[in-house]
């Protein structure tokens, strides 16, 4: 297993944005760069140090893993007067330039949780250098069977029947009270469009890219079956390019250490399995 080291990188206007790169001490010529976007308002090491340990695990498999604070998060100052999308695009342009300058031109794999996944998709849709995605709770369309499975699960779950009185009273209470603390996180997200998601999936298929996706209990409002992501893309043989995990027993931010370890082990194995693919030139699809 290669020894690894870490280096702090400053980039962007006045070198004020911060990232940390983890990579093998002996750097292989064509190893890809895994960029891990911060999640929501959290810093680059979070949630619960997950990004730190994921970056180190992937670096040991031969990747340059870079965890980054986007503008306004963690240690990176806020950019005033720009929309989120504009700001993320500027961050990406600056980071890409900085990484090429430091490590030379390489293939990118983008990883993110929640808004991090949204940013990964949006950037991959417009960038030609991205050949892999690791998406944690990305927002995807419901498929035709979603509502049936949703109601079937409710009707056949003993737990739901046992809790029905408290569920109903909570719903009634919520209906008549405006609690400013009740925020639907999904409404705060600057989501990629369905078109962007389709463009990205098509690109991955056409360029022999790879996608690794995870869906937790947080995704239940739109996802409830393993394979749903592949099916909504309508891309033939997309299951060849996309690995999908459905973990409804795990929460959105992987607050349990055992769950974080499960996630990191899965990512590590996937990275190891596909390293040669990312090192190759793009091949024609099947």
């Amino acid at each position: 297993m290669p020894k690894i080291k870490e280096e702090a990188l400053k980039f962007g206007e006045h070198d004020q944005a911060l990232a940390i790169a983890t990579f093998p001490t002996v750097l292989p010529k064509s190893c890809p760069i895994l960029v891990i976007f911060n999640a929501g308002l959290l810093s680059k090491s979070e949630p619960f140090r997950m990004n730190v340990l994921a970056a180190r695990a992937c670096a040991k498999k031969g990747y340059i893993a870079v965890r980054i604070d986007l503008s306004g998060k963690g240690d990176t100052p806020t950019r005033e007067g720009l929309s989120n999308r504009e700001s993320v695009n500027k961050d990406w342009a600056a980071l890409e330039k900085s990484l090429y300058s430091r490590f030379g031109k390489r293939t990118f794999i983008l990883m993110g949780l929640c808004s991090g996944a949204d940013n990964a998709i949006k950037i991959a849709a417009q960038s030609n250098g991205v050949r892999g995605l690791i998406l944690l709770d990305p927002k995807i369309p419901q498929d035709t069977g979603y509502m049936y499975r949703h109601w079937h699960q409710k009707v056949t779950s003993p737990q739901k029947w046992l809790n029905i009185s408290s569920t109903l009273s909570n719903r009634v209470r919520a209906l008549f009270s405006k609690n400013k603390d009740d925020i639907n996180v999904n409404e705060l997200r600057d989501l990629p469009t369905e078109e962007e998601l389709n463009i990205v999936c098509k690109k991955m298929a056409e360029n022999n890219g790879r996608v690794l996706s995870f869906f937790t209990s947080f995704a239940l409002p739109y996802y409830n079956k393993k394979g749903q992501f592949v099916s909504v893309t309508n891309i033939p043989n997309f299951e060849h390019f996309c690995d999908e995990y459905w973990w409804p027993h795990i929460d959105h931010v992987y607050s349990v250490q055992a769950h974080r370890e499960q996630l990191i082990n899965t990512i590590e194995c996937w990275c190891e399995q596909h390293l040669q693919v990312f090192q190759q030139e793009k091949l024609n699809p099947l």
């Binding site: 308002l41 959290l42 810093s43 680059k44 619960f48 240690d75 349990v256 055992a258």
Partner: protein, 250 residues
């Protein structure tokens, strides 16, 4: 302006130095961060506070203890003695960077508890935000929050009860050495009557009455109230203002 770097033995600790951006009042601060979910909730507030202090002419060093944050190592490889030594290393580093003879320690939550045990000769002042009085109590609260999390997931039907009961549902799994050292650690009252100690409290129920200077700030940090705060980040401006004022006093 910020300068990230690695320091300490084998460069295992990660730190960020904020030099003065306007003027230089020849004062240096080492921020001793909190742990676990307190760390996650206060990270941005600490970054903004360091920036504000640097704009007032102070030198600031933020860092992560061994096994936490962006530093090397894992939790089970650490203990509170190591963390207290980490604070001493951070003090040495900031003194070397600035040429100043001494520093102020700003401790937050368990970071404040650790700071209260530091005996480095280069410490001129201690400013502590909501220190944890009893390490044993703190671990009990963390364990209770883990149980609440498990019960919440079980209730939603997302986790099989058997699975939850048979697995370690901890937010962070602490090694035996770390657990034991945290359980044995309490806020060090020997520093309490010291003129150079200032306590900033939002809990209003700090049990150690011998602390000379306490500033009570009305702001609900909800440190231990899992059901209320879960997921929230903290940006307690009234607290940060008090801390910045205390640090800028000559």
């Amino acid at each position: 302006m910020l300068e990230p770097f690695h320091f300490g033995q084998k460069e295992q600790l990660f730190g960020i130095y904020h030099p003065p951006s306007q003027g230089d009042i020849a004062k240096a601060v080492v921020i001793c961060p909190p742990l676990f979910d307190d760390y996650r909730r206060t990270y941005r507030a600490c970054a903004e506070m360091a920036k504000a202090l640097s704009s007032k002419g102070l030198h600031v060093l933020r860092f992560d203890y061994f096994g936490t944050g962006d530093s090397w190592g894992e939790l089970h490889e650490s203990n509170t003695d190591v963390w207290i030594k980490n604070i001493h290393l951070a003090i040495d580093e900031l003194v070397a960077l600035t040429g100043l003879p001494d520093v102020t320690l700003l401790g937050i939550r368990f970071g404040a508890t650790l700071a209260s045990h530091c005996s480095h000769p280069g410490i001129s002042q201690l400013i502590l935000w909501d220190p944890i009085e009893s390490g044993e109590n703190y671990l009990s609260i963390l364990s209770h929050n883990d149980k609440l999390k498990r019960l919440a997931n079980e209730k939603e039907g997302y986790v099989c009860k058997t699975e939850a009961k048979n697995m370690d549902y901890s937010n962070f799994i602490l090694g035996q050495e770390l657990k034991h050292s945290m359980q044995s650690l309490s806020f060090n009252t020997e520093n309490c009557s010291n003129d150079h100690l200032r306590l900033i409290s939002t809990t209003n129920n700090f049990m150690t009455e011998s602390v000379a200077k306490i500033t009570n700030v009305s702001f609900p940090c909800s440190w231990d109230d899992f059901g209320r705060y879960y997921g929230e980040l903290l940006m307690p401006k009234p607290v940060l203002i008090q801390i910045i004022d205390a640090l800028c006093q000559k």
